[in-house]
Structures are given as C-alpha cells and as structure tokens.
Amino acid sequence: MSGLRILVPVKRVIDYAVKPRVNRAQTAVETASVKHSMNPFDELSIEEAVRLRERKTPVEEIVAFSAGPPKSQDILRTAMAMGVDRGIHVVVEEKDALEPLGVAKLLKKVVDEQKTNLVLLGKQSIDDDAGQTGQMLAGLLNWPQATQASKVQIEGDSVTVIKEVDGGVETVKAKLPMVITTDLRLNEPRYASLPNIMKAKKKPLDKKTLKDFGIESQPRLKTIKVTEPPTRKGGVKVDDVDSMISKLKELGAL
C-alpha cells in the first residue's frame, strides 16, 4: 500500500454551547442566526488524521468532505486550517438535508471516486444524535468498522483500534480499507493558528452537487413535530445535610 488516503466527513451543526430552541411552528429547531461550528466529534477525526501524518504513518492525502448548506464551506476551511489537504463540498440546501442513509450513500460514491482507504467519522453529530453514518457507510462498502475509537494504531495495512464500549474498552484489529468513528477520548483537537487559517484559504475546495453523484435527497422519515422537552419544576434548596436527607425521604427517593 502506497499510503493512506484518508477521507474525513465533517458536519456543520449548531455550536455545542448553544441551547437549541424549538421554533414556534414546532417543525424544527431554530437555526437562523444561531452560532454554528464543526461537529465536535468531527474535529477529533481531523485531528487524528493529521496526527497520523505527524506520527510518520505514510499518508498520501487527507480530504475533508461536507454535504450541507453553502456555509458548510466555513467548516471545511477550518478543517484545512487544522491540516487537511483539500476539501469537497456537496452543496445541499437545508430544506433538502440528507438523512444518515443518504449521506452514507453519497460517501460511498466519494470513497470510490477518491480511492479512499480510510474513512474517519465522528461517532455521532450533536444535532440529530443518530450515530449511524459511519456504520452505514461500512455496511454499504462492506468494509470493516470500528466505532467509538479511543485509540487508533496503523502499521502497514493493519489497523488496531481500542473502542469505548459499555463498561470499558474493547480492542479490535482489521486490515485497510476501513471505517473508524471517533470518540471523545481519542485526542485533543488543536486550534487552527492564524497563519494556517490564511494558508487554508488557498487550499483547493471542490464544489459539487448531489446530481454530480447521482444522489437524490429523498427522505425516508417525515418530521411530524418537534417540541420542547417537558421542563422540570424547580425544586427547593436546603441548608444542611439533615434537611437534604429528610427532603429526599419525603420525595420517596430514600
């Protein structure tokens, strides 16, 4: 194998620190004039791809990919400022947003086209919290998968991944090509430096459409409504441990 050709899909989502609000018509979460940024798990994927190169693993190319509204190119630039070589942006308007299955189908075509042999995705996006795309892509490609990775080791074409599972960790081993989804403990993403942000502006960014890949945005799921979660009633504050215990007893929790 001549080297890794890494594809890192990234998603533009409402910033994790923003408290999302449901719109009045109860059809969606309000996204207009809300701060957006790169899905936090995707930052981990990029960081990992860049670190592979820094660790002298032969990396031929790191390509970031996003399917989303025109503003998604901002996060592709961020990815490039972190060390990605180039970007591919499939412009999809918000009303035509793809479901995970649609994204996985699109990614399969991109993987074929780019001759990718390693796809690094976040384990979930923090907007729809589905956690499906990586596994779906692996299924469509019939490639090995390792989800919720907290450590990735590549030697030649052999990949060892430590995964976060219920109650601990699990180690699996497979051969490239492979799909890996990243978990929080994998690494600490770097901040893009100003010179790198400037350099990123000159890196190539391909703009494409769904039609270029022969994919249609046909949702399988229909949103019936989006509502606010039931709010909890504010409780009482107590002054000492004894009143805490008696209050908990009163509530039947002890």
Partner: protein, 349 residues
C-alpha cells in the same frame, strides 16, 4: 420486494377492515397480528443481558407478535432463559462462537438473513454499544433509514426520540417498509422475566467471514449495580478536583445508598473517572429513582443524560450552577464537607 408486498397487504387489510368493521377493537387486533417484531437480544458468556430486553418491552407497546433473536456459542441456554420472558412468542437462536463478540461484519449479514426469512416489520435493539454498532450496518444493507434511541412509540410507524442532547423532542414517521429502531433502555422498562413460554427455534446461519478480529477487552469490574439500570446513581464532576478525591468520596456514598457511580464529562476528561461512567449526551443515559450529584455544574450535555431521573439531588458550592434549576433538592455547600457528612448520616440510618 417481499417487504413491499407485505406492506401493501397490510394496507389492504386495514382498508378492508375499516370498511367492514368500523369498531375499533377487532380492527386493532386484526391489524396487530400483521405486525411482527424481531427483538435483538444481547448475551455475554452464555448469559442473557437483561437490559437488552427493553427491545421486547418496546415490541409489546407496538403490538403484534414478538420474536427474539440471540446468537453466540452456547446460546441455547440463553434462548431457554429468554423463553420465560413475558411477551415473547418465539426465540430464534444461532449457535456459533463467531457471533460471541457481536462483530457487526458477520453479525449484520446474520441478522439480515434472519430478517429476510422471518419477514419482520420491525427490528428492535437496545441503544447500547452493541446495538449502536450493529443496527445501522443492518439498516444500510436493507436500505432502510434507522431511527435511533427512541423514547416513545406513537403508532406502528411513528416514533418519538430526543435530538440536540434532549433539548428537543422529535416525533418522526417512517416510510420504510421495515422499521429498524434502537430503543432507549430507560424509557422501556424491562418486562417480567417469568411466566412466558416462547417456542425456541434455530435460525439460519449464513456464516459470513468477519474481516475484523476481536483482540481483547478490558471491562471495569464492579460489585455495584449497573449504571444504566441502577435505581440510584451518585455522580461526581469536576468539583471533586482529583481522581484521589473522587475515589475517596464517591464510592462510600454509593455504597451507603446501594447506588451506581456516574461522572460528568469534565470528570472523565480530567481522568477522575473511567469513560464508561460518563453520564450525558455522548455517554450513558440514566433515569434512576434518585440521581445524587456533587460538583457537577449541569451543562446541557450532562443534563441530556440524567434529566429523566425521578428525583435529582445536587450538592454544589455555586448557588448559580444550572444544576439547581433541575434539582428537586439542592444543597449549596462545599462537597468535601457535605459528601462525607451525608455518607456518615446515611450509613447510620
């Protein structure tokens, strides 16, 4: 194909029933008979993972017949154990050590074969590490858009699930003929594990190879109740300051209450606690009778994992901490004093 034919049969049956029998009850039961759920159960070392039975509870809510599925080495005994679970009509088991670790590369083709053979309308599994890893792969092979982590069922095709870390609740309708769903364990209490009498049957085994090899695992051993299903949870955050303090203060409190131990992401990131203890959007979801937390500010990502708890109690020195907005009982104070005091007083009761 087959599933499409099935759906049209379903639709036809429903229309006819509606015309001939306007009364609701017979119509429902006749229609429910056409629903068939496959609940994918988990096992480890020949023991049934009881929390995976939430898939059966969700199936019961859907109506229709429920078949449970289990695979691995020595699973016949697991199948016989599961046969006693109320609500299951049939258990399909596949005896093969290749499925012990739930590797999706061979488990997905296995499930797909058995789904095709059984023609189920709904495939349910828990939203656990196993279910999250496996089901989307199955869904992609079957060309179906999965619905993850549901907390409610409105009808056979309409489901409720939290999005944006639980800050919004989405009701979504599936147009796929086979619905593939993971269920949130805390939203579907485990069914009675006694009194059922399911038939046990062997499934088909396509014996697909797995290109992925399971190497090892390192699971935290604990005598305490399992975090995901515990009645009581005590949880610590960044306020505990170090792993030493976490280990000094939290386990005694947990033992005094018979509780499981959880942690905030901040505590996990700082190395105070193991990652598997993380409660929140990207960790575990818990909904115990009592959630008692100390030194946790209450970021939205953390609240996402615990705000369905029956009673929330919080100890924090910052009276403005957002955790107090959701806590039923809040104590403003230094946790290094209050937690040991609480532990002592609970013990002496």
């Amino acid at each position: 194909m087959f599933s499409v034919a099935r759906q049209s049969v379903l639709r036809q049956a429903r229309t006819q029933l509606r015309l001939s029998q306007p009364t609701a009850v017979p119509q429902y039961s006749a229609f429910a008979r056409l629903l068939s759920t496959l609940a994918v159960l988990e096992q480890r070392d020949g023991k049934l993972n009881v929390s995976s039975l939430a898939a059966v509870s969700a199936g019961t809510k859907l109506g229709g017949s429920i078949t449970a599925f289990v695979a691995g080495s020595g699973v016949k005994s697991v199948a016989e154990e599961a046969a006693k679970v109320k609500g299951i009509e049939k258990i399909i088991y596949v005896e093969n050590g290749a499925y012990d670790k739930g590797l999706p590369e061979n488990y997905a083709p296995l499930l797909v074969e058995n789904i095709k053979k059984g023609g189920y309308t709904h495939i349910l599994a828990g939203h656990s590490a196993f279910g999250k890893n496996l089901l989307p792969r199955v869904a992609a092979i079957l060309d179906t858009q999965q619905i993850s982590d549901i907390t409610g069922i409105e009808s056979e095709d309409t489901f409720v699930r939290p999005i944006y870390a639980g800050n919004a609740i989405l009701t979504v309708q599936s147009t796929d003929s086979t619905k593939i769903i993971t269920v949130r364990g805390t939203a579907f209490p485990v069914p009675e594990t006694d009194g059922g009498s399911a038939t046990v049957e062997e499934g088909v085994d396509p014996k697909a190879d797995s290109p992925t090899e399971w190497v090892s695992e390192d699971l935290a051993k604990s005598d305490r109740p399992d975090l995901g299903s515990a009645d009581k949870v005590v949880s610590g955050g960044r306020g505990l300051k170090s792993k030493e303090e976490f280990d000094r203060l939290m386990p005694p409190l947990a033992d005094a209450l018979g509780a499981a131990i959880g942690a905030s992401r901040a505590a996990v990131d700082s190395g105070f606690a193991d990652n598997s203890l993380q409660v929140g959007q990207t960790g575990k979801n818990v909904a115990p009778q009592l959630y008692l937390c100390a030194g946790i500010s209450g970021a939205i990502q953390h609240l996402a994992g615990m705000k369905d708890s029956k009673v929330i109690a919080a100890i924090n020195k910052d009276p403005e901490a957002p955790i107090f907005q959701v806590a039923d009982v809040g104590l403003v104070g230094d946790l290094f004093e209050k937690v040991p005091e609480l532990t002592e007083k609970l013990k002496s009761q």
